[in-house]
Symmetry: C2
Subunit: 438 residues, 2 copies
């Protein structure tokens, strides 16, 4: 039920799991951080908490917080309660990034109406902040659709970002890292599933909670924003409940060797640094890729071939040559005949960061779309990654993968977007985007 | 957390809840029946079990069944374990009908290829039976995609039915009740989302389990069947876990006053009787309606108006004039000014069965589809009902609703289908459709 992690994030395989420890802000300990840490100890007792200075405050804080009763009362190793928990909205960073990944996601990209003014947009951001703060705490919102009445937030998080177009329209400084994503070999992008001015990522363990939040958020932006695209995704309820790494639709464990809890406790791999403009301090960058899997072709390969394509065994998720999911990915290892144990064109080899600047926090979901004209179902992976600088991480890694990855034969990317994720709201009087609109 | 039921099923509002007690077959007690009953007592202690002759056998059977450890070990009133349970595949009736409704559904309608022979179709039915029996028990299937490796079935059920076209093609007797659904006022049906030769309803509390089962079932039919349409739906994790009635996307409690456990224990409202051909003995009929909700219009109505349209209060679900969800729906009640308490054009009034022959077992889900050209999201209700005779139940009730229901202004039905649901497999050597193909 529990699992260990190595310290080498090594792949683009998408995250279905529960890396926690959002922020360790100097001198303060947010309620969100405490809840996340409690959840971690419940889900994955093998991840030591001794390294956290806040460890001593854990028991008291969790017990004092009735919202967290679902997990705080559980013994280590017990299941996560998928309905009872609350993830704190306010913090230096937005929730839904370094907080544990819930079972369901709804990602909506909006375009700004031509007629919308700067004041209109600021009003939307303020209204969203207020509504998101209420809904994530389990409070009703005024003029809500009442879909969620009687239900708990089930770890609802609402995370907001902006596209390059909106930043320019606002006359704010465009961050160097907020580039237009280059064309990648093999992409078959649908413009209607790509890009956008504003993104909202909503995650919860209860899909009905997302349906309610989506109505609230979309309605609060009426006449100012229009929906450009929306993607819903899912993970495994069982894996989430157990704290296991979940599988993707190809059957591989997906999310192994993600950014580690100790890395998340620093500003290292995710949060922007002083090279970014001031309005991004505490923010990060979100890459979304809608990756259709050609499952018929994939499933015609035998397991041994699938494992060579991925570079990991299918059953355990261990790197080839290893025995456990958490084993070190040894790119130098060779078979008795001298061939590379982890093949040259395997996904794991090519995705493994060549340096720490390539690290990303993966937090993706499976998706299921429409029946296509050939009778197959459009389904696959919503690749979602957060990183401090996509120009040194996602982009070079994806260029490597697009050129050489054996897995590319079995996937088609049809949607793609890059957003700047706004800083969090350190206090309940702050609003998302306040620095951007200042 | 618990709720009571009256004995008056009264509406077409779709079922999001957990009416249990599948079958009470003469002289035998299926493992499925026992598990269902245990789940009932856990979820809804207010539903007495004293009336069941098998009550005395409960504790022993449940304890002896390791698959049911998740709920059998829980005290009455405790949460349902959404990941651990197994619903028995074999039985006089198929599972997924009178067994508790899981959080997720995947409904797939297939067309039979022109080239497919009777033998091809029988081979598919045998392969499906074998695969479904294995997957619902948590066993791996040969040449599976391995998406679900390491996860529990999470109450997976797989339920198979046939359309009128296939029955005629096979030269079997077409049941009188397997009609072509008439046109209903207001329907805007998309043929590509309607009808079909074969339907498979798969339900589970873990969407990844459904993804795996879908691949297995679809692949076992390759070259014989093609996917015509597929719909995925969701309920509330929280309501499911608590044993509460869930809400639909309009915010109303949906599934109140469904067919009761005592009715389900008889052949009454669901299972066909001797008027049906022999190949249907133990079967039922499935109606699927894809009902888009015009949520923008709906949400512009104030709560009082919404309640008059539905005929129930939004918060509690009580019928107008009542105080509790389970209160009797009194169609004669009048306000002080002499007007009807439950308005003449309210949904509840029109949907209430005028006689027991109109009873249906509702088992629907919310759905979320594509972004439409007007920028709204195609979302609403997958109405799913099971009934012994749609010509005396669904069809007359829907005609009444289509003509007069105040709710119609806020919905558009875009998909519609009627299927004959095959009898169950009483023993593990039987296969679905064996009588149809005999």
């Amino acid at each position: 039920m529990n699992r260990t992690r190595s310290n080498e994030p090594d792949s683009l395989e998408n995250d279905m799991d529960f890396v926690t420890e959002p922020e360790k802000s100097p001198g303060t300990v947010s309620r969100r951080g405490l809840i996340g840490l409690v959840t971690t100890t419940v889900a994955s007792a093998a991840v030591g908490i001794g390294g956290f200075a806040i460890g001593g405050q854990l028991a008291g804080a969790a017990t004092a917080d009735p919202s967290n009763a679902g997990s705080s009362g559980a013994a280590p190793g017990a299941d996560i309660d998928l309905t009872a928990d609350i993830v704190e909205f306010d913090g230096l960073h937005q929730a839904g990034i370094a907080t544990p990944a819930q079972t369901n996601v709804l990602l909506t990209s909006y375009d700004v109406a031509q007629s919308a003014s700067r004041a209109d947009l600021a009003a939307v951001m303020k209204a969203w902040t207020q509504a998101a703060r209420a809904m994530t705490a389990g409070d009703a919102v005024e003029a809500g659709p009442d879909i969620s009445t009687g239900s708990r937030p089930a770890n609802l998080t609402i995370t907001v970002g902006v596209g390059a177009g909106l930043v320019q329209r606002l006359g704010a400084q465009r961050p160097r890292a907020l580039v237009d994503l280059p064309a990648f070999t093999g992409d078959q992008l649908d413009p209607a599933r790509s890009g956008g001015d504003i993104v909202v990522q909503m995650c919860s363990d209860d899909p009905l909670i997302l349906a309610n939040a989506d109505r609230v958020i979309t309605r609060r932006a009426e006449n100012t924003l229009t929906v450009r695209w929306q993607e819903q995704g899912f993970g495994s309820t069982g894996a989430r409940s157990d704290g296991r790494t979940g599988r993707n639709l190809m059957g591989q464990l997906d999310g192994t060797n993600n950014v580690t809890t100790s890395q998340l406790a620093t500003s290292g791999p995710i949060w922007v640094d002083e090279r970014d403009p001031g309005w991004m301090a505490g923010g990060t960058y979100l890459v979304v890729r809608r990756i259709r899997m050609l499952l018929g072709d994939w499933e015609r390969q035998n397991t041994a071939h699938q494992e060579r394509v991925i570079g990991r065994t299918k059953d355990t998720g261990a790197p080839l040559g290893g025995t456990m999911e958490s084993d070190y990915v040894d790119l130098e290892a060779r078979n008795a005949d001298g061939s590379l144990t982890i093949p040259a064109d395997s996904h794991v080899r090519l995705a493994k960061p060549s340096s720490s600047s390539e690290n990303m926090m993966r937090r993706g979901y499976s998706y299921r779309g429409a029946v296509l004209s050939d009778g197959t179902v459009d389904q696959g992976l919503l690749f979602i990654s957060f990183q401090k600088d996509p120009t040194t991480s996602f982009i070079p890694v994806q260029q490597r993968l697009a050129a050489h990855d054996a897995l590319s034969e079995f996937t088609v990317t049809t949607g793609s977007a890059l957003f700047a994720i706004l800083p969090g709201t350190p206090t309940a009087s702050d609003w998302l985007g306040s620095a951007l609109f200042a």
